[in-house]
Symmetry: C3
Subunit: 310 residues, 3 copies
């Protein structure tokens, strides 16, 4: 198997198919650790990992923190409200200071696209993008790929539909990169006001007909609808959206028998996904959460645990 | 001694006398750990314990976190303001996600009665109630029982007075269950607007005469007065309350010589308790805090450390 | 070498020259730990260290937390917004409660001068002042002294200029104590509205001419300008301040060739320090951050790790 050489994880745009496969393979071996009585391996003992979250998050922050702790690393939480950021310190200054404290990795989430790249260009610590603006959320896509492979045995050749607000979704963007590299056929589906112009150039098909997409899909990724988009006039009403693009049991009638329904969470039940479907037989939403820990352990291990001379 | 079989700690209502005794006995052996130079035992190494606090708390959160760390568990803090709760995720969804991350226990505090029960009914992780609405605060009552037994050698047959806002107090409710099961005689005392109707059916006496209660009590539990009750018109004024139901040296003149004065903290000095009494010879307030760690270590250990096949 | 006997670290006012030297010497041996692959020594395993920060801080809080973790201590974060402080509990009550939980050290930052002293007078736990009002910030001064000695080989006999808002600066105050004890010649320089009356009695020279100070200084400590001072009418405008007291390349023309420029961070680039100087060849700002971890490890180790019978 190929060797890991990357210093940071900024996005799936940057990764080769072989690198993605290496993460998935490594995650497989880490998944078992979280089912043990003693959920801990010493792989990253004495490493310092900073969680620098400028946006609120339960799932992603907790998942990374648990992943780091199960690898025996030391973790430090920094969130803007309790930090010098409120004193007007620039993000790069914060990064430089953390570097001076000899931290090994900075896991960063920020509402502006490109913040992880800026840190990566200027710091020796490994930077892991935990979501930047509308750009990428690479570990989410990696855990989605892991889950698809776990459920269906492969990714290549599968038809994957991504439904919802494609325009603002870093989850969609990272998944498109990852799925295409792994050989899947991707169709994006959503209101035209929430569809990025020229998205076809990424090698995806565009559809505005959810029923058509459902009929041919092996995997349906349903995106979270940010309810604040209503105010921005991207959508006329939540009810309208739910009627046309919400996934419910009725619309799944003509789906493949073993269709896999995914959602990055947290779900708006009754909006993009009916409660029945979210908790139903096709849903793998909680598997995604479980696999998130394994994929993040793999990511941290590959970035920090296997460097030569380290 | 009896074996521990409970999966959760929701309240003292649910525990048998034998189970309460088992917690107290186990706490006794853990109390010594916190006086060591190396305050740490490996009992829960590799376990993941989540502190899910929807209400602010220094004492209880810190006490649980220290208890978990002294047992070598990994801890994760989640508080609503920094979590997906603010994105409208339901509490049960949060719980399901934590379960999917293979956490071993969730310590939860919430302003609504019954939240720990809902989590317990739906999750495999052990749920520990750190205070739910006006219902129960079981570890507080357990540490109170532990402290009484430590100070007076027994609980059975003792006269215990509980003074203050009985109506809104989860501390009072848990203690009433616990004290009755352990064979104590309980008298509750407070303004009639703050006395739950039908409280006598729990097997307690009701008094509105503090001096009478003090005269016969072996133990006096003074409750914290939530000052916001004034606004709710439950009370005419703080000064009035302090005059009638505040415990001071003068009122203790006719108390038993070895009366034990307890308070769950934080105290409003000069309101429910004079500073002189809070810091005086009868007060065991800081012993309660010390014993809180031991009791919480015992609770976590019984719930997570001794399962078969674990 | 002399033995450490202090129980707390409240300020440099309290330390002897020998004690300061002992911290610096100890820090030297800990500096190497943070460059290892496994950045961890077991010196304080099983100790409980509380970070009680009433004021926001990235640098200092993170630095202390990392120092504690690299010594293998358990850490607990308490910040006022999530604590019982908001329930009106007094600081001393909080301290008494932490003491009852057998914590070994409390690292405290507070906007009121003297809070660490009050805790120290009343508690058995070691108190470490992480900044109190305008009084002292001892670990900042210790890391500054460490950095000067590292860069220039000595402190005795050096000319040190401290520039800026001397009146409100706990960093200035701690450094004046420390530098004088170590035998440096100190000149303070700033607007007369921001100069404490009678400061000469501390054994420092006062100057209002930055160029003069720069010309003779071996070390220039530039203080952060709290921009809120404008509102308080201490200063006419930021632009005016920057013009007269801001340090830039032009003003450094007549400086010594190996002048050392320091700043406690976070810097207001373009105000007290030009970006060019902050990132330039004379700046040791990031060395200060790196040395902060070593000095704080030394402090924690001397206070907690070497007591007899411990």
């Amino acid at each position: 198997m190929s060797q890991w050489t990357k210093h940071d994880l900024l996005g799936l745009d940057d990764l080769t198919k072989e690198e993605i496969e290496l993460v998935l393979e490594t995650a497989k071996s880490f998944k078992e650790v979280s089912t043990r009585d003693v959920k801990k391996v010493p792989a990253l003992r004495g490493k310092t990992i900073v969680l620098l979250f400028f946006e609120a998050s339960t799932r992603t922050r907790t998942s990374f923190e648990l992943a780091a702790k199960r690898l025996s690393a030391d973790t430090i939480n920094i969130s803007p409200s309790t930090s010098a950021i409120s004193k007007g310190e620039s993000i790069l200054d914060t990064g430089k200071n953390l570097e001076a404290m000899n931290v090994d990795a900075i896991i960063v989430r920020h509402s502006s696209s490109g913040v992880p790249k800026i840190l990566s260009d200027n710091l020796k610590a490994s930077i892991i993008n935990a979501g930047d603006g509308c750009r990428e959320h690479p570990t989410q896509a990696l855990l989605d790929l892991f889950t698809i492979k776990e459920k269906l045995g492969r990714i290549e050749g599968l038809n994957v539909g991504i439904v919802g607000d494609i325009l603002h979704s870093r989850v969609a963007r990272s998944n498109i990169w990852g799925l295409k590299k792994m050989g899947a056929n991707v169709t994006v589906c959503g209101p035209s006001t929430l569809m990025p112009r020229g998205i076809e150039e990424c090698g995806v098909k565009v559809s505005h007909n959810l029923s058509e997409v459902i009929k041919t899909s092996d995997v349906l990724m349903v995106l979270r609808l940010q309810l604040e988009r209503m105010q921005d006039k991207f959508l006329p009403s939540v009810r309208e959206y739910a009627k046309i693009f919400g996934v419910n049991k009725e619309k799944l009638k003509h789906a493949k028998k073993d269709i896999v329904i995914m959602h990055p969470g947290p779900t708006n039940r009754g909006v993009e996904l009916s409660a029945e479907v979210a908790d139903g037989e096709y849903s793998v939403i909680l598997d995604q959460v479980t696999n998130g820990i394994a994929v993040r352990m793999a990511t941290l291990y590959l970035l920090l645990g296997t460097k030569e001379g380290n």
